[in-house]
């Protein structure tokens, strides 16, 4: 349940992922435990978001020094993945391979679109609030993380492995 998106993922450096044409190619199917096409694309996007969240989390946990510019940059990376850029990776019925999407994605498409849009909106708020770690950025980060949780709770399969 907790590590399912990470498990069996080839480690992909964030810098390589951003702007990579290869990543968005529907024929690239070498990672994510056999994922191919659009399923792999969206799993890679989720990995990218997760990596960014992990780096921001480490700063709020004071495991590494807080760097407002880095928080803003990572928040922008997340913001760029939300909205239509995310929902277009979920063509109806794309449940093949190791996809962890629930049919609820298409059954409640409006809600899915709303949450996908919130991902970008909340990330943009974090980006703009990054200079003030406490309480501004922290509160924005919590809002963003709750959006991730809402989407995973409503639209991602439970871990049944």
């Amino acid at each position: 349940m907790i590590i399912s998106f990470k498990r069996a993922c080839a480690p992909i450096a964030l810098g390589l992922v951003i702007g990579s044409v290869t990543l968005l190619s529907p024929n690239d199917g070498h990672a994510h435990g056999g994922a191919t096409g659009v399923v792999k694309e969206r799993m890679d996007v989720m990995t990218m978001i997760g990596d960014a969240m992990k780096k921001i989390t480490a700063m709020f946990k004071r495991q590494v020094p807080y760097d407002d510019q880095e928080v803003a940059r990572l928040a922008a990376v997340i913001a760029e993945q939300g909205g239509e850029d995310l929902t277009k990776l979920f063509p109806e019925g794309s449940l093949h391979g190791p996809s962890e999407a629930l049919p609820a994605v298409w059954e409640r498409w409006d809600r899915f679109q709303t949450v996908a849009a919130q991902l970008s909106e909340k990330a943009r708020v974090l980006e703009s609030n990054a200079p003030q770690m406490m309480p501004g950025a922290m509160m924005s980060f919590m809002d963003l993380a709750k959006t991730c949780n809402a989407c995973h709770t409503e639209f991602r399969k439970k871990d049944e492995h």
Binding site: M1, M53, M142, A145, C148, C151, K158, D159
Partner: protein, 300 residues
């Protein structure tokens, strides 16, 4: 306990014999070990609005996926025993719990007893709620009395034989249920005891994070060790402080971020049933309660 268990096993045998031969209804072998004096306590609905977050009532008693009203029940749980349906716990007098007294409500939560005296299935986690303080039970009732009644008739469970025989639950309770309030450990800190109360009582973490026997009882010796397959088919992680199998390497901030936001240390977001727990429950916890749960889980 051993005597009780032997008695129960004997009754299981007799009961099954009776069922097979078509006579001798199952005798009720379970009785509460404690009596609660709850009638004279006054409830605070505002405090109850917080208690309901600690007790995780909302996720199970709301059919959110089908647009059901909050706490009006109807959510289905498909398990190996059959389909359970969470009841309506709004104060509607016909279809909810609007006609219940405080004693009835307390008996349900802390003794697993329905108003007619029959037993609840343990899909309703009274095995944990029994540890709730009388004040919390009373405040929770006051809160539920204060919300808008919703008329929503919920179908009964649809269970396979022999689980459909509700009378058999007395035997189950004799085997797996000991009622009684949480007993604090005086040598431990206030935060530790509060955390132990939340985890084992209202928060009922043990219900999902502990493996179950074939008959659905919690395996006490494996408390919080997780399970590869919960009754609803989900893999549930080990949250003991074991350094590799559990969360022994986590810090208090890691526990706090998970409970407040659903964020795991590796940047993932939990989703699944825990996502609901976070969304409807732990993300509403006070900072002190988050810290208390961390204190207890990391040093039980």
């Amino acid at each position: 306990m051993i005597t009780k268990r032997r008695l129960a096993l004997a009754v299981v045998g007799l009961g099954l014999t009776g069922l097979v031969s078509g006579f001798a209804p199952l005798p009720d072998v379970w009785e509460p070990s404690t009596e609660r004096q709850i009638e004279n306590i006054s409830g605070d609905p505002k405090r109850g609005a917080y208690v309901i977050r600690t007790a995780g009532c909302i996720a199970c008693h709301t059919d959110a996926q089908n647009g059901g009203a909050e706490l009006a029940g109807g959510r289905e749980f498909d398990t190996p025993y059959g389909v359970f349906r969470a009841p309506n716990i709004t104060p509607d007098k016909e279809t909810g719990i609007g006609g219940w007294s405080l004693a009835m409500f307390s008996d349900a939560l802390t003794k697993g007893l329905r108003p007619d005296g029959s037993h609840y299935y343990p899909a309703f986690p009274y095995t944990s709620y029994t540890k709730m303080a009388d004040q919390d039970v009373t405040d929770l009732k006051a809160y539920l009395d204060s919300i808008k009644p919703v008329s929503n008739e919920v179908q009964d469970h649809d269970l396979a034989f022999p689980f459909s025989v509700r009378e058999g639950l007395g035997i189950w309770k004799a085997l797996y249920f000991s009622d009684g309030q949480f007993q604090p450990r005086p040598e431990k800190s206030q935060a530790w005891n509060r955390g132990a109360y939340l985890v084992n009582g209202p928060g009922h973490c043990v219900e999902c994070h502990t493996p179950r026997t074939l008959l659905g009882g919690l395996e006490a010796e494996a408390t919080l060790e997780g399970t590869a397959k919960s009754p609803d088919g989900e893999k549930v992680p080990n949250i003991t402080n074991h350094p590799t199998a559990g969360i022994g390497q986590w810090g208090e901030m890691d526990v706090a971020f998970l409970l407040q936001m659903g964020l795991t240390p590796d940047g993932d977001s939990v989703g699944g049933s825990m996502g609901e727990v976070v969304r409807d429950g732990t993300s509403h916890f006070t900072q002190d309660d988050i810290a208390a749960v961390s204190t207890y889980l990391l040093n039980p």
